[in-house]
């Protein structure tokens, strides 16, 4: 598997407060890396550094072999797509038009011819083809989330950054989103996904990067990082890790006080 994105000793200090320090991680083509950590650990800051929104104050990020800062915005838009946490559209554009906006970076390139197909495929994959004509502003939270995901998929980039893509979704659509992420990874893309549900991460990610107070405290295969002692320390709450009865995938549960039998 070839390396797609590499963060080397990345630090980010804002107003004298270090938000990130010495973050090291790599995403390869063909894998899903889950970014985990308690609230305030710096996941969103790290994601915006990896997306090129925010310049790190220390270290650097390389995307496809080149420093992130060396790309022009239009080039970057053909290499990475980011699904934001919140989905707002200022004017009542139809959902289909919103998805089509994802194709903007390809306008004027030889691949602009694939626009129709890419939009149709993305909307079919996210189960929102039937919403195409509806104004985005009139959609429910879950529908918006799927249309926004379709826009990112239509952008058709080697690197996908998903910021809590399952937050507004019901069980079926949560699984749908992570299955799509898996398909993309199998097609040779790299996926970074921020999740809060550790069991969901355990079931779908290849590797996990665990952040605590702006530092990567562990980066590695799912089974190794999801260690009860490590998680209990990072989340400041006792945690149990069980094995699923079928297949043995880790199930992470917070320890709860039990009522007497």
């Amino acid at each position: 598997m070839t390396e797609l994105l590499h963060a080397d000793a990345v630090g980010c200090t804002v107003g004298g407060r270090p938000l990130l320090a010495d973050v090291r991680l790599t995403v390869r083509r063909g894998e899903i890396l889950a970014l985990l950590g308690p609230n305030g650990a710096g996941k969103s800051t790290l994601l915006s550094v990896l997306a090129g929104d925010r310049r790190p104050t220390d270290g650097r990020v390389r995307l496809d072999g080149r420093p992130l800062a060396a790309y022009r915005p239009a080039e970057l838009a053909r290499l990475r797509a980011l699904l934001p946490q919140h989905h707002e559209v200022s004017f009542p554009f139809a959902a289909g038009e919103v998805v089509r906006m994802g194709r903007a970076p390809w306008a004027g390139t030889p691949r602009a011819g694939e626009d129709e197909q890419a939009v149709a495929r993305a909307m079919a994959a996210t189960d929102c083809a039937h919403l195409a004509a509806r104004p985005f502003t009139a959609l429910s939270g879950g529908e918006r989330a799927r249309v926004a995901l379709a826009r990112i998929l239509a952008q058709d980039t080697p690197l996908l950054l998903l910021d809590e893509p399952t937050a507004a979704l019901d069980l079926r659509h949560q699984e749908l989103v992570l299955r799509i992420a898996r398909e993309r990874a199998e097609a040779g893309r790299g996926v970074i996904v921020v999740l809060h549900d550790l069991t969901l991460a355990a079931a779908h990610a290849d590797r996990i990067a665990l952040l605590d107070a702006g530092r990567t405290v562990a980066v590695g295969p799912t089974g190794e990082v999801l260690d009860a002692a490590l998680l209990s320390r990072v989340y400041r709450h006792p945690v149990e890790v069980l094995a699923h009865p079928h297949g043995g995938a880790p199930i992470v549960l917070p320890e709860r006080p039990r009522e007497a039998d």
């Binding site: 053909r78 559209v89 004017f91 903007a104």
Partner: protein, 361 residues
């Protein structure tokens, strides 16, 4: 919980979206034809009536396409009084309509209008200062030039003050605009406080907005700014669509948001300052016209920008015709008329949008 009803078969094939898209060229053509008809009507209507046939003959004659010149009086009325006024209304309306659509797009907010970044009140300070202090360095052009310059200067100041670290936050920009508008209002008040009665009445009339001082030289003064703005704006239509997703998503799609904002705010400032300089303050055109068009044909800027320019021109040509004929021989101030009709209309729009979408969108 949505209130928009879409039949399943329409939704699956996207027919509704297509119907709206197909309507766009038709709507643009209809607006263009209405504008032309309204302009011809305005050219013929007034204390001295000129029949349509004569107008066309005279126009054709001047364009060396046959036709014939009119008698001395109608020819003079048409070419020295009516046409400069109609053309000026067309340019000012086009500039205001286009500037309004750009502002709403740049700020991703349907309530934005050029006045919020200080261009109108800044222009007013310049004009009022000239009138009250009796400045006439540029002869009869002094007020116009001062309004234009101070309008641009004010926008520049608002923009410079709201920047920090190479970025501009929209909320900061809007709040800076609010503060600067209040400051300009205070300056105007201070100037009026020191003014004599004649100056006060002149200021009042200037602020009400009117095209009664139209002339070919004013048309020529506005033309380059209107042409520049109307030429640059459509080049940003696609990027403005992307900006509706928010600044960060637009950047992720390759848009240089900060640069685009500087260019477009400059364009808005030029368009509005030029309009304010020759006509005073004419409100609500830039706010209501893009709104109405968005409701009719969707929010895509490739349609919205040119249509708002044509629609703004239509509203102003029709408005100016009404302003000078409704109470003839007296003339209503155009700015008063547009606000008088525009504000209840805007209120109706607000109510309607709320009913339909359960909130502003």
């Amino acid at each position: 919980m949505t209130t928009t009803v879409v039949k399943p078969e329409e939704a699956s094939t996207g027919k509704t979206g297509k119907a709206v898209r197909d309507r766009r060229p038709l709507l643009l053509a209809a607006l263009g034809i209405a504008l032309l008809a309204c302009a011809l009507l305005a050219a013929g209507t007034g204390a001295y009536r000129i029949p349509l046939g004569d107008i066309l003959a005279s126009l054709a004659h001047r364009a060396h396409l046959g036709g014939h010149p009119l008698e001395r009086v109608p020819e003079s009325v048409l070419w020295n009084v009516r046409l400069p006024r109609v053309v000026l209304a067309l340019l000012v309306g086009g500039a205001l309509g286009c500037a309004g659509a750009l502002m709403q797009g740049v700020f991703g907010n349907p309530l934005a209008e050029p006045a919020v970044i200080g261009v109108s009140s800044g222009g007013a300070v310049g004009a009022v200062a000239c009138i009250v202090l009796g400045l006439d360095a540029l002869g009869s052009w002094t007020v116009t030039a001062a309004a234009f310059a101070s309008g641009l200067l004010t926008v520049g100041a608002v923009y410079a003050m709201s920047r920090s670290g190479g970025r501009t936050e929209v909320v900061t920009l809007l709040l800076t605009g609010v503060a600067v508008n209040a400051f300009c209002g205070a300056l105007i008040g201070l100037l009026l406080f020191t003014a004599d009665t004649a100056a006060i009445s002149q200021v009042t009339f200037w602020q009400l907005g009117s095209l009664s001082q139209a002339s070919w030289s004013k048309v020529l003064a506005v033309l380059p700014f209107a042409a520049l703005g109307l030429a640059v704006a459509p080049r940003y239509a696609r990027r403005l669509d992307l900006l509706a997703l928010g600044e960060r998503p637009a950047r992720h799609l390759g848009v240089d948001v900060e640069r685009m904002r500087i260019v477009l705010i400059t364009v808005v400032a030029l368009l509005t300052a030029a309009a304010v300089a020759v006509s005073g303050i004419i409100g609500f055109v830039g706010l209501v016209v893009p709104h109405l068009l968005r409701m009719l044909a969707g929010p895509g800027h490739r349609f919205l920008l040119p249509a708002s320019a044509v629609g703004g021109a239509l509203v102003l040509v029709a408005g100016d015709l009404a302003a000078r004929t409704l109470a003839a021989p007296a003339e209503l101030p155009l700015g008063v008329l547009t606000a008088l009709i525009g504000s209840p209309f805007f209120f109706w729009l607000l109510r309607r949008t709320r009913r339909r979408q359960g909130g502003w969108a």
